[in-house]
Amino acid sequence: MSTLSPTSAAGPDPAVNVDVTGETRLERITGIAQQQGGLVSLVIVFVAACAFSDGFADWGNFQSILVGNAYTSLLALGMTFVILTGGIDLSVGSMFALGGVLAAWGAGHGGVLVAILLPLVVAALFGLLQGTLIAKARLAPFIVTLAGMLFARGLLQAISAEGTDTYLVPKGSAFLWLGDGTWRPILTAVILFVLGGILLMRTRFGQALFAIGGSENAALLMGLPVARTKVLVYVLSATIAGAAGMLNASRLQSGVTNIGVGYELTAIAAVIIGGTLLTGGAGSILGTAAGVLLLAVIQNLIGVHLSQYGSSASDLANGLFLAVVVLIQTTLTRVRRLP
């Protein structure tokens, strides 16, 4: 890199000295709060729940919330990368189910390695196909992955006799170790989220995602490998979804065929509540994690307090909650409002 610097004649010039100092700590904190509307909302709801919902602030309760959402949260993780590029991946729900079925089948018919690798490979290929259609053939991500959602679900049913036979992971198969207990799933999720954060903020791939989402044309002219990155991001998302399904199969000890319906919407909701722009270019893994937890907590509260009033009451509350949360989040989040 040539370290060129122009003649000092036109050097530093007080006239354009628009901001001299760095940020003060306070400003940095408020800044973060405003970037992380989801996180703030989470804290608010969490504190409120601990205060007013007896039985919420209970270790067992926290555990069940965390472990219950450990694997599905991964869908949101993958979704974050995709949405950052301004895309979307509706196929993750089906991919989650397919991954589980393949894993369970593999555990029965080929042992641990097959159980682990088969879903990953299939998912990756699936993502590759979607990515190519989106990046090379320039089809709209929404429609491609919508078709993907149908296709994966169909495939799943085709290999499970219209979803009637459920493959079971043999008792005592080493594959069961993966998703066993409470802490293993939680830790797996935490580790993957951390890795995701690093991938996003500390690698060129991650930066390329932001750039493409911010302005695909600019990214192209700046010489970034736009097409390759876009293909990769869909491979990544699909693989993560497949992996999540695989892990989940290990936890459920079987490949449930009718699982995963509508999970994509929950994932998207979590990502957006986490402050990621659907138009791409801005967002964070931390935010997504917050989004996932926020939805989980809300679900838990509704379960405790509204179940006895029937599903429709829960749905109504769910919708209201979601609306309120995004309103809070949107008013807090400033990322899209800069002049």
Partner: protein, 492 residues
């Protein structure tokens, strides 16, 4: 150091895009150092050592200045991006370009000028053998231009070839050795810069006889002052906006051209936007024709104030609409009856302005995004004029348009003023500002630091006023500017 010039739509940018693999040529070859090359993508071109600054600033507005600067070649430690080092280096590099800004700040919070400088800095950081610059100075201030030339001379001394596109002829004479003149997508002359004098150059570009070219002055403004009459059409009082405007007051009277002078980031665009009601204010008032308007764009337009935005791409054209639709966009309320668009009226308006402003388009139905930069600019001007306004706020009205077109536009501005319009003129080109304005209000760091009237309206006085004014350190306060809910800021 090679100059590439031609009128708007001559094909300069297109040529550049073909050379750097954005478009693939239908035929013909590109040679790099003798051997033939064909770049599949801009990336390929970059790797071959061709670094390009494209016409419209092409950076990622939402990412931080530092990340934009290093995108794709970030400094890494243990395979991971070393962001602290990146920020530090970014700060140092930018300082050399006169942009003193916290590199963690999102690029979009910078003015267009500053963004342009970042783009230049980025392009130069790649150690390239050829640097192509498509109108790098179009939104630069005299001082930044000097900075840029400093860079360019350094590059040249390092034996790096530079292709330089600009509509500011004097710049070319300052720095370029050879020149290629294009017209209508074809090369009409290649020669040593010194071998062609200014007039010849212009006549070559426009394809007109030297005689009728000469009638244009340096700018299209008549030197005579306009006679200013009556109470101000627009009176902005004490406009306040954190980090950007600090009690700016401007009055525009009928028939008067008020210039806004100042350096990058001095808040000129903000002032214009504020008057237009496109920017929420912390304080201050705007009166149009003596009555305070509701602070919305629509209200301002109804009251007869219109603005030509600075950023053509982000705030101006509606790319996939036709030229026609773009021109009448703002005038819709006037040409609709019971919600229906009156086609006759619409075509009438469109024809008139396409002729009057000499807008080059295959037909009014052509997508505006297919027009050259200059012609897009004219379309936007037409959008303003067909509202028959009382006052006109022009932010860089001649940005990136060729001498011919520029003279025309300036002529139009002049004419409008004579017809009694009040005009607010923001321009980074000093002679345009000086010759164009009857009165220049000088801004610095969002404050009015002086006003030039009569004979004081000259480059030197402007410079001295700027130099003498004390800097305002607290103004550039860092962090993102205030939150802000106006529509135009949502999606840019």
């Amino acid at each position: 150091m090679h100059a590439l010039i031609g009128e708007n739509g001559a094909g300069k940018s297109t040529l550049i895009k073909v050379m750097t693999g954005v478009y693939e040529p239908d035929e013909g070859e590109v040679r790099l150092r003798g051997e033939e090359v064909a770049f599949a993508s801009p990336l390929a071109a970059q790797e071959a050592g061709i670094s390009t600054i494209y016409q419209e600033v092409n950076l990622v507005p939402m990412m931080s200045v530092a990340r934009n600067l290093f995108l794709g070649r970030e400094p890494r430690r243990y395979g991971l991006i070393d962001s602290t080092r990146m920020k530090r280096e970014a700060r140092d590099i930018l300082r050399d370009y006169g942009v003193h800004v916290n590199p963690a700040r999102p690029l979009r919070s910078l003015g267009l000028g500053a963004q342009q400088m970042v783009a230049i800095a980025r392009a130069v950081q790649i150690d390239a053998r050829v640097v192509i610059m498509d109108e790098p100075t179009s939104s630069l201030e005299a001082r930044e231009v000097e900075t840029l030339f400093g860079v360019i001379r350094r590059l040249r001394d390092q034996g790096i070839a530079i292709v330089y596109v600009s509509h500011r002829l004097d710049e070319l004479y300052q720095v370029c050795d050879r020149v290629t003149v294009m017209r209508d997508g074809a090369v009409v002359r290649v020669d040593d810069m010194s071998a062609v004098d200014r007039i010849t150059l212009v006549s070559l570009m426009l394809g007109r006889e030297i005689g009728d070219v000469r009638t244009h002055g340096a700018t299209g403004f008549a030197d005579a002052e306009h006679q200013v009459k009556g109470a101000p059409v627009v009176a902005a009082r004490n406009l306040q906006r954190r980090h950007q405007l600090d009690g700016v007051s401007v009055e525009i009277r009928p028939g008067e051209v008020v210039g806004l002078g100042g350096l990058l980031g001095s808040g000129r665009s903000e002032t214009a936007k504020a008057i237009m009601g496109a920017l929420p204010l912390d304080g201050g008032s705007v009166e149009v024709g003596g009555t305070t308007t509701r602070r919305t764009v629509a209200a301002s337009i109804r009251a007869g104030v219109v603005m030509l935005p600075e950023d053509r791409k982000a705030e101006g054209i509606v790319p996939s609409l036709s030229v026609r639709e773009n021109i009448v966009l703002a005038a819709l309320p006037r040409i609709t009856r019971a919600g229906l668009v009156d086609r006759a009226k619409q075509d009438e308006i469109v024809d008139y302005f396409m002729k009057r402003l000499r807008i080059k388009a295959s037909s009014p139905d052509q997508r505006v995004s297919e027009l050259s930069g200059g012609n897009q600019q004219k379309v936007l001007l037409a959008r303003c004029l067909c509202l028959d306004p009382k006052a006109l706020l022009l932010d860089e009205p001649t940005r990136g348009i060729d001498v011919g077109a520029k003279a025309e536009v300036q002529g139009v501005i002049n004419e409008l003023a004579e017809q009694g319009l009040g005009v607010l003129l923001i321009s980074s080109e000093l002679d345009e500002l000086i010759e164009g304005s009857d009165r220049v209000v000088v801004l610095k760091d969002g404050r009015v630091v002086g006003e030039l009237t009569g004979d004081d309206v000259s480059q030197d006085t402007l410079m001295t006023t700027l130099a003498e004014a004390p800097p305002e350190p607290d103004l550039g306060a860092p962090g993102a500017p205030e939150p802000d809910t106006t529509e135009e800021e949502r999606h840019d």
